[in-house]
Amino acid sequence: MTHLGLMAIYALLLGVFFALLWRQENAARSRLFLQIFIGMVGGAVLVGWLMYYFPSGPAAPIP
């Protein structure tokens, strides 16, 4: 399983969980689920893309 796939599953589970916990109506639940899911997956992809501009540099020496 890919890192992106695991992240998407994690966002899916959290989105469903908090939508059930914090909202009562189905429409409101759907909105919150989409906000959480898109926020987590989209945010992670966006941050990952921005990190291309900050190369990690040489590996740290092994003590």
């Binding site: 399983m1 890192h3 695991l6 599953i9 994690y10 589970l13 959290l14 469903v16 969980f17 059930l20 916990l21 009562q24």
Partner: protein
């Protein structure tokens, strides 16, 4: 505000919170919120089983590591699944696995989610949160 909320304490709420902790989703099911109960049970069970499949760390208290105490409390929030996996199946995770960190997050999240569910059951049962 109901009489239970004014009293601030009820043994029924304590019993329901305990049931909700031991069996994820069961508290809402008993309170008549069956769809939510099944949903919580499905989400928490999926996260926990996926964490086991990914060979994550099922936290236990490590001497000299005070933060492991908090992590253990969080993981124990999953209730019966934690104890069955730890003491029944002897599961401890595999740090050599490439998915170890992911599995740890899934296992810990399952416990923390169930603790939030327990608090929700407590609020519903004690009248602090209105039923819909």
């Amino acid at each position: 505000m109901t009489e239970l909320a004014q009293d601030g304490f009820s043994w029924r709420a304590v019993a329901l919170a305990a049931v909700a902790w031991i069996v994820p989703g069961c508290g809402h099911f008993v309170l008549g919120r069956r769809v939510r109960g099944i949903g919580f049970a499905a989400v928490i069970a999926t996260a926990f089983l996926l964490g086991l499949h990914l060979e994550g760390n099922l936290y236990r208290v490590a001497p000299g590591q005070p933060l492991s105490f908090l992590a253990t409390l969080g993981a124990m929030g999953a209730g019966a699944p934690y104890f069955v996996a730890r003491f029944g199946a002897g599961f401890s995770g595999s740090p050599e696995a490439s998915t170890y960190e992911y599995g740890t997050i899934f296992l810990l999240s399952a416990g923390l989610m169930n603790l939030l569910v327990v608090l929700d059951v407590w609020d519903l049962a004690s009248g602090r949160k209105e039923r819909d």
